[in-house]
Symmetry: C2
Subunit: 436 residues, 2 copies
DNA sequence: CCCGGTGAG
DNA sequence: TCCCCTCACCGGG
DNA sequence: ATGTCCGCA
DNA sequence: AGCGTGCGGACAT
């Protein structure tokens, strides 16, 4: 590896850049509060360097790079014998069809509590006001106060990394039962505005307020303001609202004009990374195929490439994003029923099979308990385990009867064929639709 | 089974009816030449009764009946909480979209030789003129002269059954090499009219004659007449043409008006069984869900049911059929590349493993030869074998390298776990698209 | 991927 | 003498 | 069906 | 010292 040709240097520097960005964590790129992202990334990178975690991230990053090269090669090849104009015309036709499905008659709003866990902690401990603090569980931050976020501290970040970024950071332990209480409370409020509301996580939901606005002769803006005031009055917590993803957090709301033009103008300059479903990997992939400015506007420009890589990128999904048409379910409804249940535990590396099996037993016991509480059963058992290299294996087995007992879960031990384990996960589901 | 309630009697009689119809063979219902189908069916049924073949057909028939019951139950249930009007409106919208894809600018014609193998035999042996004769291979008819067809004799029928229907039937042995010669000859002729023509079997093809008609200032009708005359002049064999399936065989052509109205009027009264892709099973299933008159017109009537059973019936496919829009590939082109190759042999029941393995070896040898001739290799080997009950088993194994040698094919012997074999088949393919 | 089923010629 | 043989495609697991 | 990867809270 | 837990979904095989 002594080559120093310009091309080689460029490639390596690119890889380093993407790796550094990757190390910033999956939720990086969502909020844009931090001043100097480059400096932050450097601190994170330095703090990680040398660890097995770092090595694994490097490997993953490399894999994405290789994947990009393959995609580019395929694109090159495919474009040789391809009538681009024809494909684009075909896409335009598809776009027209999707456009037809646009429904501007429904008032859909997305509401999401501000720094949820953190503000709940603040509520119960006012001395935290104005402080840089974060909520932590198992060594990882679940969220951070807005003061802390200015230092680059984010959800999903290892606590010790956050400390490097923000030495005075106060760490508060998770209190899930408390968040559940408040969550129930706010969901109750949301329900008043839309009985069919669709919860999307413990602190947010999609509401169809068309009927409510009609009945109360309100504009959507007035209605959302009322929702936010109600939440604040009853919980003393702030909530933001708007079309997803929220434009102006915290404690704000954003009203987009209800016409196709305005919506498309909005998405045109929206970085794809903000789109739900586009994470750090998809962002790199899309950038590679020509979404240079990383905005949704480029989805249209690159519709030909996307169309020949439908499976990889999700043609219709991206076009909908470009058009600003969310799912075709006008009703944000969709009553959720659980589709899987699982339990997972991480521990310091275990080598002896007996120790591993003991851990497995603990996880199985915990899962059995959760299943009993939920009254849930399954027929496909999946064992997932992680080595100290962070490499992950999954082994699954479907059976012809319903499983609910610890003993049956524990049977997956037959599928462990490695040592150096650091994590065990048991998951149950029933594949496909619903059981009779 | 002593119940004689009206319902029970009805059910049993229906089953018998469907079974009798089934026994008439898969290609029954295509040609409507025979006078008294009921009498024919009775003869076939009587000749089959008691055999293992018959028992198997009965079992299959029963399975379809059960399948129908399940479908009807599901339909019943689904329709309870279903806004039929809404679903139909949605279907109408889909139909509009499909209608948009209708392309009346291309002149596509389907040409198909009359009683191909039989007429080739007649050509080489004029003494067969006017006789009731059929071409036979391995005890099964490949085709029959039109004179013989009047007796109910059909392709795919066992020779000994055909003899019962038509005692004076003359049987002529298959001479494949000869049909190949003629096939090449006629394909050559078709090519003159469309270099991109799509062969669809040894005696037929789809031709896009748009360009030819344009260049020679001909109508489609004139062009097709010329094609047929050319074929007759150069081969002394007759060919029919028209939209598939051919309307007036033999030696005819059918011209459908090139407007949506006429096409839909045509399909409206077309029995679904004539539609390529709808066989004896699909016909029964569709009839069960309400395609009562068994015509494509009912596809529209029953669009709601079909839409909720998309997977079972192929919603878009059926709607396209109703609209008379064939595949969206305006170009009948699609250069074919082989996707699998296999060899199969039927024999009198073998019990001893050694005997079975000897047969397997023969089949493997034959396949290897065919593969060598074709220069074809594969990576997924499928073994299929049939018991004397006609029950079929399939066992497949993919490997990470290209297989072409007899020895590797013969390795599938590990997957035989039965006795009483009457048939062995080895097949090779490579799953999905193309290898590099 | 693996298996069974349907259909065509 | 007692129901073939080759190939393609689909849907479920 | 099994196995891997991606994304979100 | 050092990077978790629980879920849904898409895709390849
Ligand atoms: N990576 C994570 N791991 C565990 N819990 C998380 C993670 N991300 C978020 N959470 C939890 C804690 C959050 O307070 C809660 C709601 O998430 P989210 O709405 O995305 O952020 P937030 O409410 O903390 O801040 P924001 O003001 O940006 O909405 O879910
Ligand atoms: N079931 C079968 N098994 C073996 N060969 C068959 C079978 N069906 C058809 N063939 C062979 C023999 C036919 O002459 C040839 C062309 O088939 P096809 O066009 O359907 O019938 P045909 O040409 O004999 O009569 P038609 O006049 O109805 O077209 O393919
Ligand atoms: Mg939030
Ligand atoms: Mg949230
Ligand atoms: Mg023919
Ligand atoms: Mg034919």
């Amino acid at each position: 590896m002594e080559s120093n040709s310009p091309k080689d240097t460029l490639v390596r520097s690119q890889e380093t850049e993407s790796l550094v960005k990757r190390l910033a964590g999956p939720s990086s790129g969502k909020a844009g509060l931090a001043k100097d992202q480059t400096e932050i990334n450097r601190i994170i990178s330095d703090a990680s360097k040398g660890s097995k975690f770092y090595e694994n991230e490097k490997k993953k990053d490399k894999e994405v790079t290789v994947r990009i090269e393959k995609i580019l090669k395929y694109k090159e090849e495919a474009f040789k014998n391809l009538d681009v104009a024809k494909v684009e015309a075909s896409m335009d036709h598809l776009i027209e069809q999707l456009e037809e499905q646009r429904d501007l008659t429904q008032l859909i709003v997305h509401v999401d509590m501000d720094a949820f866990f953190a503000n709940v902690e603040l509520l119960d401990n006012p001395s935290l006001a104005g402080k840089t603090f974060a909520v932590v569980g198992k060594g990882v931050l679940t969220t951070a106060s807005y003061e802390a976020r200015k230092f680059g501290v984010r959800s999903g970040m290892a606590a010790f990394i956050a400390k490097k970024l923000c030495p005075h950071l106060i760490l508060v332990e998770n209190r899930h039962w408390r968040y559940s209480e408040i969550s129930d409370q706010i969901m109750g409020i949301f329900h008043r505005y839309d009985p069919d509301m669709c919860p999307a996580g413990c602190d947010e939901g999609y509401l169809n307020i068309t009927a409510y606005c009609e009945e109360h002769a309100m504009t959507a803006e007035e209605c959302v303001r009322e929702i936010r005031e109600t939440v604040f009055r009853e919980t003393k917590l702030t909530v933001s609202a708007g079309i997803a993803p929220n434009k102006n957090k915290p404690n704000g709301q954003y009203q987009l004009d209800f016409d196709a033009k305005a919506i498309k103008a909005f998405t045109h300059d929206l970085p794809i990374r903000k789109v739900p479903g586009i994470g750090r990997v998809s962002e790199r992939l899309l950038e590679a195929i020509g979404i240079k400015a990383s905005t949704c506007g480029d989805i249209y420009t690159q519709r030909a490439v996307i169309s020949i890589m439908d499976k990889q990128f999700g043609l219709v999904y991206l076009l909908r994003t470009y058009l600003g048409i969310s799912s075709n379910t006008v009703q944000a409804h969709t009553r959720e029923e659980r589709k899987s249940i699982g339990a997972e535990r991480t521990f310091s590396t275990l080598h002896k099979l007996d120790d591993i099996l003991a851990k497995l037993d603990e996880v199985a016991a915990e899962l059995e308990k959760d299943m009993q509480e939920d009254g849930w059963v399954g027929r496909t058992i999946t064992l997932k385990y992680k080595l100290d290299t962070y490499r992950v294996f999954t082994r699954a087995k479907s059976v012809d009867h319903w499983v609910s007992k610890k003993e049956e879960l524990y049977a997956v031990r037959q599928m462990i064929h490695s040592s150096h384990l650091t994590n065990i996960n048991i998951l149950l589901d029933w594949q496909r639709p619903a059981p009779p």
